[in-house]
């Protein structure tokens, strides 16, 4: 029923599996920050975004406005992270409700392309379709980013390297959700 919560719950049970299947057999720990219930504390968004390293932007394919809201969120994320290449995955949820689709696949894809070629997935939390893939993709992006910028202006990351904890990494993935029928946001 509720895509967002369902996805998170799904993810909770599958997180480990997901991470294990990552490329290079690298394990990483994914800390998922869920701000459920505090959406109205808009001032806190920044705080949440700041701590995230990767973001799932989820909208409902049955709602055009939910996609529109994503663009605001994305801008805010990029601004706050001060980085255009923040790992982001665009997710159109509720792919099981094809008959109620308001956002065409092509359009959504075009949007994701315009947002720095962000990958676009359509998922169904209800059918558990593509949920893992979304997270795997995001993890890949985060890891790739890590690897490609080891000289890092990023104190936190280099600190982790310095301590030799290459195998296990704490990742925070901020999940912004746009999901109409869902109670939240």
């Amino acid at each position: 029923m509720c895509g967002l919560r369902a996805m998170i719950l799904l993810l909770r049970t599958r997180c480990l599996v997901t991470d294990r299947s990552l490329e290079q057999g690298r394990q990483c720990m994914l800390e998922i920050l869920d701000t459920a219930g505090t959406e109205q504390f808009t001032a806190m968004r920044e705080l949440y975004m700041k701590t995230g390293q990767g973001f799932l932007l989820v909208f409902s394919i049955t709602s055009q406005s939910s996609l529109n809201e994503l663009s605001e969120l994305r801008e805010q994320i990029i601004r706050i992270k001060d980085d255009d290449n923040v790992p982001i995955v665009i997710v159109g949820n509720k792919s099981d409700l094809e008959e109620d689709r308001m956002v065409s696949r092509a359009k959504a894809f075009a949007v994701s392309q315009s947002w720095g070629n962000a990958p676009y997935y359509e998922t169904s939390a209800r059918r558990r379709a593509n949920v893992d893939e979304v997270f795997i993709d995001l993890c890949r992006q985060i890891i790739r980013k890590d690897n490609s910028a080891p000289q890092a202006f990023d104190d936190e990351i280099s600190g982790v390297y310095g301590q030799g904890r290459k195998d296990r990494r704490s990742r925070q993935s901020r999940r912004r959700k746009k999901d109409r029928s869902c109670v939240i946001l």
Binding site: D34, F153, Q172
Partner: protein, 1216 residues
Amino acid sequence: MVKADNPRSSALVAPLSIHKVEGRAQDFSAPARHKRNNSSKSSTAASSTPSQMTPPATPDGSQEEDLMQQAERPPIFHNFLRAFYPFHPTYAVSDTTVTLPLNEGDVVLVHSIHTNGWADGTLLISGARGWLPTNYCEAYDPESLRTLLQALLNFWDLMRSGHRSDAELFGNQEFMRGIIAGVRYLLEKSHCLTRESPLVQSNDGLRRNRKALLSELSALVKAAKRLQEFIVTPTSADDVNDVIDEMILKAFKIVTKGVRFLDILEEDQRKKQPLVNRVMETVVEESSVPPTPPADSTSFEGRQHGDNLSDAASRRTSSHSTASGMSTSTRAAEQSNTPSRQRSPLSHSSATTPERRMSKSGSVVAKRPSVSHRVSMTIPAAQRHNLISERLNVSHDNLLSYLGSFIGRLHLQSQSTADLVVTIRHTVTAGKALLAVVEAVCARDTQCADTLDQSRSAMYDRINKLVVAARDVIKSSGLEEDDVVMPQENGRLLMAATGCVKAAGECVAMCKFVLDRIGDFEFEGGLSFDVDPAPYQANHISPGPDGTSVPGSKALVPLEPGNRAPPPPLIIPLYEKPLPEVPVGGSPGEKDVIPRPQPPLESVAEGEDTDDTNSSRSSFLPPLPKLHSPLMTHEEYSPTDRTSPQDGEYQASLRSGSIAVSSIGTTSSYLSSVRGSESSMLSQTSTRATTPDVSNHAPKNTRGSLSEISVSGSHSTIADDMDDGESRMLEKTFAHQLMYNKDGQITGGTLPALVERLTTHDSTPDAMFVSTFYLTFRLFASPIELATALVERFDYVAESPHIAAPVRLRVYNVFKGWLESHWKRLVDLEALSIIESFAKVKLLAVLPHAGGRLLELAGKVSSTDGPLVPRLVSSMGKTNTSMSQYIPADTPLPTPNLSKAQTAALKNWKMGGSNPDITVFDPLELARQLTIKEMNIFCAIMPDELLGSEWTKRSGSNAVNVRAMSTLSTDLSNLVADTILHHDDFKKRAVTIKHWIKIAQKCLELNNYDSLMAIICTLNSSTIVRLKATWAAVSPRRKDMLKGLQAIVEPDKNYAVLRRRLHDHVPPCLPFVGTYLTDLTFVDAGNPATKQLPGHGDSQGIQVINFDKHTRTAKIIGELQRFQIPYRLTEIPELQEWMQAQIVRVKSSPNQEQVQQFYRKSLLLEPRETFPRPSPIDHGSFGSVGSTGSVTATGHKEKFDLFGWTHSRERQLSAS
């Protein structure tokens, strides 16, 4: 007697109290208990003797491992198993784990199952816990027993964790409900709910079993009541433990009885339709079709057909063999010494151990046979006398009682030959009688004659061997009349006697099997004793008569005194005819690991025998228990009798309970009393032999005599108990539609069940439950449904007159509470007419006063808006007193910190003058005023605003105060940004930042986490953080302060830091509401509204309300409400007004735009540096900001960037 028995009894019951180990002081008087700790579950508790708890064939039974295995196991974990095949581990192998001997038909409560196929379980019949092979068992989950089994699980869990809130828990007797409901359900399902039901009337066995079941139930209820008393009057934890142990045993017994009842029922049904081939779990049937053991198909030798006697005997045998082994084997000696050393400082000397063991084995004989006598039970008593099956039972019982007493005496290790001769003679006579009966069966049945003949021959053989052994013994002792039989000779005798018991059991089982097929018939032979044609002489035992009467028995050995061969070693080898392969455990690799975790206490002794235990183990799966432990486990039987702290009457009734069991199979009261006295005699004698304390004799003797008269004397008690139980059973109840968690809290239930729970007759309903119910009921039931359910409850309780009065009063109270303090006019109004008519018609008739009051309330409610009783803020029982508890009313209010200049500035502002800067005001005072402002809203939050994610609704949300909280929080954040960005001079900005840091610090000191969060959010936002020039002007001290504050509100790990702080925080405190909202959202979204009750009834389980969800919700709300206590601070209206004006001013534009505006302003003030950075400098901490703070900002203004920062991003993107 009570006093005298107490120490003993606690020792006796102790093995059961494993589950208490974690919480209560360890009772070291129970050596066996330590070992039973070996369950992986309680591995934490194993600290004292950790490696003693080796599970069989498991390296260390670590918890993780176990979890893994559970995961790998087939999806269904069966909580109960039933043995379809007996399992008797040899005790010859010394070891450190407890394996449970199983009898066919034994039901086991499983705690965990190891991958190697061994399950950690508790044997219901004895309460013994240990390892048992699952391949000997099958899942036991008959439909009509399911409720009871489930209830037992709950009961067990509850009792195990009981110490957490003893008083509360035991005070309201809630834990009893499930068991009672389970029994009720069983009877209901089997159409035996009332004594008058035709089924009960027609079947004597059913009637008796039903009676026994109910009397057990009432015994349990009594024990529970006693526990209640214990709680009221402070008693030592030991006593309470005893009662709890006793209760668990009783609960087990109830289930055992239930199982038996069901068996009989099924048997009854089968008898009625004899041609239908059905698979049933009855012992008899099982024995005919042994599911697995392959080696058995040809021979009945070694099969035990559910005969518990042989089991008991085998235990005895083993205990004896260990006893005799002690003299020769140092290891054995060491082993029994070790625990005694360990126990020595405690009140119970180790000497009691062997004594108890012996008395136990004696009484076991007396009590257990009843299990095997089911066949006869189904026949009405009147017709029974001459039926062959009855005769079989009688003679079998007879034989067993002789053998039992014989074996019991052997344990005394001193016996005159004369006694021996007499006993043997009796035994042989009884054996003859039995053989005669078997012979008759044999004659009747042509088909099965062979197999039956075989087993009969085997029995005959055994009896012969016993005689031979006896003769040998007597001979070797020189044939002197008064000579004493040497203890070492006892071994042989024991073996022989055990062999007899076992063979007889097999033979009888076989007979029953045959009888089942050919049907019962009259036994023409008259009394079996008379049939015996050969009067036996002690020294002239001749097989002759048998030889003639049993023509087919070629196996008989002629017993010539001169040339008899020594009896073959019987005991253990005998039992271990091809045991079914136990799954994985057999792998030698695993076994090698077993000895590793040697118990520290034993390691001294076992150091050198590790090897040989190892090797001997390789053929035998389970590392076997230490010698005495399995026997100890049976103590629970008699201890229940002895523990009873009451007088003889209670004893009698308890005792009669057990005797009632045994008499189930045998109508002959003569036999029962024989057995009773036999057992009591045994326990007396054995006590005498080993207990040094003479003072114990008297009570024990009384007990003995009590038990002797118990058969007649206790019937009245049974009857009384029964009536009690009957009336209990007759209550209509929905208790079986409730689900509990391990702590005994309700986690689910249907509306009627929940309503019933709300209106229990015998206890005040749990406050938490009631408040949760009131708070959340609208989420799972409409007001009309609730009102209807309450009225129904009021109606159906009339069926149980003895509880009707209190229940009705409670129903009224529920209505009253609803109307008075939980009435929500808008939604609840629809139910008002129901309530009114109920009050007018039904309630008024029964409770006129209450009816009038309810009507009055209903009238008020319909005319008033809002609750009648001024706001009960807390659903969780917070009262106004709790406020005074934290802030005494006479605490002086802090003096407002507002200087004249500041007041003047405010006045000036109000008159239209310039707006004073925030830095004008004292940080502390600002923090105070902020706190007052927020706290006012926070205190106004109503619990129902927090239900069902109400506050997240986009429109029409009723959660006005929650919304106001978040709005205020956001506004404050914006105000912070505004006041900082307001200044063009970076030095002034720095001053403002410093000021806000101070305010935040003061908020923290006031425990105002909500404002703290809002301020930090802004100071942490990209808009502010990027102002490097400004930050450079902030002193390191302030930055450090900010760092500390940031750490507190860090959202990492779901606000772990903040949550830790708020946990157990003392009000006054204004917590960050967001965490509660997050939690509530998760509970709301992550938990289904309904649950599936484990299937009983015809098909699937019914859907019940997931009350757990609501309980969790209520808990979170309760946590929040805990802080809804206003601060004692002085409000400064002028300052409040000013603050409000500032907020309104900042609020002028919609939020999202506002954020952008702030950012643009920020860019304007300190424009971006010329070259774009791929990664933020200021990521993470402010410390880095300070260090990188080479401020070049002013020199690198990029005007175009003012509104075009996003474009610059894109440009940068295309460049890369």
